[in-house]
């Protein structure tokens, strides 16, 4: 074979080519790490096998995150669906049976969306301090960490919203397409607030008191935002305040799309556009800075 290759000029060229390719091959698979003050750069093309391992790492992290929330419970993962449902039903009972004057669909939409908003923001805030996603023996790339977090958030939001969407469709005559839009809207909102939360992450890590304050603001926000009641119930300063509340736009748009009492159409579209643009920009900045912030925070103790 070798003799035949080197017998003609074209064969020699082919042989040189093959040798060139072979000599280059391993180099492509070598993982190179360049560590500097400003960055930790991973060089080298990932092989298919390594890509599969990366995917397994993502799945490991997602499973671990879910286990943390369901540990020691008899019903395990079922609580991911049951918890938001039971809480929503409690509020539904309080506001429809005791006060008996608010539309049940409106409450379910508001409470479910507020929960998504709250959990996504808090997940964003705590996204960076988790340095290696539970795998302690190896440096995990930010891409893998981020993929795991986004996948976890997507599944978690789906669990939080799916059963309630089902109830809205089957028990409260919401259209299937409306239910589907509600699911999508929750995912978008969750994604945006996660990105926004990640910007706050280093600040909360440095001054944990801010995390506590955010907790209080979120608790107050639950009662002040159009979560348990639509915006149409608000008046004066309360209404004006919610015109600048990003959550209000998501909740009211969902109510509008699902055909319940909503003031979305009367809200200033410029405000909506501005809020969404700022949120999208902050999310982009948040996601882009995660790698740098994660790197920066490794030496914070």
């Amino acid at each position: 074979m070798a003799k035949r290759l080197f017998a003609t000029p074209s064969g020699v060229l082919t042989a040189i080519g093959i040798i060139g390719v072979i000599s280059k091959l391993p180099e492509r698979f070598i993982l190179k790490l360049i560590i500097e003050h400003s960055k930790c750069l991973v060089l080298g093309e990932r092989t298919n096998v390594e890509k599969v391992v990366d995917r397994e790492k993502v799945l490991f992290m997602v499973r671990t995150k879910f286990r943390k929330t369901t540990k020691r419970r008899f019903l395990g993962y079922a609580w991911l669906v049951l918890d938001p449902l039971i809480l929503s039903l409690i509020y539904l009972f309080v506001f429809t049976v005791v006060r008996a004057n608010i539309n049940a669909t409106s409450i379910l939409i508001g409470i479910t969306m507020y929960r998504v908003f709250q959990t996504s923001l808090m997940a964003g805030i705590s996204a960076i301090p988790d340095p290696n996603g539970g795998l302690k023996c190896e440096r995990i790339s930010t891409k893998i960490l981020l993929s795991a977090t986004v996948l976890h958030r997507t599944i978690d939001i789906f669990f939080q919203t799916s059963l309630i969407t089902g109830i809205l469709v089957y028990a409260f005559d919401t259209s299937v397409s409306g239910g589907f839009i509600f699911l999508i809207l929750c995912q978008i909102m969750g994604f945006l607030f996660f990105g926004f939360g990640s910007i706050l992450s280093p600040l909360v890590k440095r001054i944990p008191d801010i995390g506590t304050l955010i907790g209080y603001v979120l608790r107050l926000g639950f009662f002040a935002s159009p979560a348990m009641y639509p915006m149409s119930r608000m008046t004066g300063l309360h209404y004006n305040f919610n015109e600048y509340n990003p959550f209000a736009y998501f909740a009211e748009s969902a109510r509008l799309l699902l055909g319940v009492d909503s003031v979305f159409e009367s809200l200033n579209p410029l405000h909506f556009l501005l809020i969404v643009t700022v949120l999208v920009l902050l999310t982009i900045i948040g996601f882009k800075r995660i790698d740098f912030l994660r790197w920066r925070m490794t030496t914070w103790s």
Binding site: P26, E27, F29, I30, L31, K32, L33, I34, I35, E36, H37, C40, V49, E50, V53, E56, K57, F60, R63, T64, R67, K71, R72, P131, N132, G134, L135, K136, C137, E138, R139, R206, W295, R296, T298, T299, W300, S301
Partner: protein
């Protein structure tokens, strides 16, 4: 796999930690900058076994973590080639909610063990750890020793191009320690480049060919491991504070030497016996001691001539302290022998 001869290249690496402190209740606090490593430069070639030795807080582990890509340097540049595994302690990321088997299975896949080899991998870990039925129980219910065994069993089966070890020895009982030492040696034999930071000087001498000594964040020595150990011992001997570990009496018999101490000692606190062979001018270190009030050294652990000094040492904070008075066995005993 590694084509480039140099697998780790470090130029003027400095690492600072930032610690938030608040002295008063109503103070906003301040951020303290702690210099852990100062301008370290070195190159490690493929196939080298390097021991980093130094006192606690000298920057060994910090340097190792930086090489693993887990710490941001304040300045300088570091380049590594190949897959790096960093073993610190014996917890690769176990979940207390899962059984030993489930933990091994999940982590093995995440650390890149091919799925077709998973069952063999699990069997190998189970067999090595000797956990029996406990292997099928929740990890959260394991004792410290069992956790250590499972952790060591797992990490010692992983493979990489560069292995960074940060004091990953000593889990389990005496038998397991022996077993884990030989398994670690086998692991090190299979992996081309190994960097370990350790206080175990005999271990460093056994495994490594190159030694780095760190002191107060500075890389103060780089050379053959035996020279590095000598340098380190010289560095630390001047600052040792001796402590008394009084004994009631000692007996020398045909079977060995027996000490009856006034206070009970525990091996968990880190106790070892150093025997200095006066004739050969060599040190013999016996690390496997039992808890109690008595100490008996068998004759087969001693030099034939018995012309030696004994020193009991206790590991506290960051170094070995003398825990006994020097005991000189008279040549008369050797003559009796």
């Amino acid at each position: 796999m590694v084509l480039n001869d140099i697998v780790i290249s470090m130029e003027n690496i400095a690492i600072d930690y930032f610690e938030y402190t608040r002295e008063k209740v109503f103070s906003l606090g301040k951020i303290n900058q702690i210099q852990a490593v100062k301008n370290a430069s070195l190159q490690i070639r493929d196939g080298e076994r390097v021991a980093i030795i130094g006192r606690n807080g000298s920057g060994k582990s910090t340097l190792l973590r930086c090489i693993a890509g887990m710490l941001r340097p304040a300045s300088g540049r570091l380049e590594t080639t190949g897959r790096i595994l960093f073993l610190s302690g014996v917890d690769p990321g176990f979940d207390p909610e899962l059984t030993g088997r489930e933990n091994i299975k999940q982590l093995a896949v995440a650390y890149g063990v091919p799925k077709v080899e998973i069952e063999d991998f699990i069997s190998s870990v189970k067999e090595f750890t000797e956990l029996g039925d406990a292997f099928e129980r929740k990890f959260g219910g394991y004792s410290g020793g069992m956790r250590g065994k499972l952790g060591f069993g797992f990490i010692s089966d992983l493979r990489s191009d560069v292995l960074l070890i940060d004091e990953t020895f000593g889990a389990g009982d005496r038998e397991f320690k022996k077993k884990s030492r030989s398994k670690m040696n086998a692991m090190i034999d299979e992996i081309s480049t190994v960097i370990m930071c350790t206080h175990g000087l005999p271990l460093a001498r056994d495994i490594c060919d190159r030694g780095l000594v760190m002191d107060s964040g500075n890389l103060v020595f780089d050379g053959p491991v035996s020279d590095a150990i000598d340098y380190y011992e010289e560095l630390t001997s001047s600052s040792i504070n001796w402590v008394e570990f009084p004994y009631n009496e000692k007996y020398v018999s045909d079977e060995g030497v027996f000490f009856d101490f006034k206070t009970e000692f525990k091996v968990a606190e880190g106790l070892r016996l150093v025997i200095h062979d006066q004739r050969k001018k060599e040190f013999i270190i016996i690390e496997e001691l039992d808890d109690g009030e008595n100490l008996f050294i068998k004759r087969n652990a001693l030099p034939e001539h018995l012309d030696c000094k004994f020193k009991l040492q206790q590991f506290r904070e960051d170094r070995w302290y003398d825990a006994s008075r020097y005991i000189q066995l008279t040549p008369k005993v050797a003559e009796e022998e």
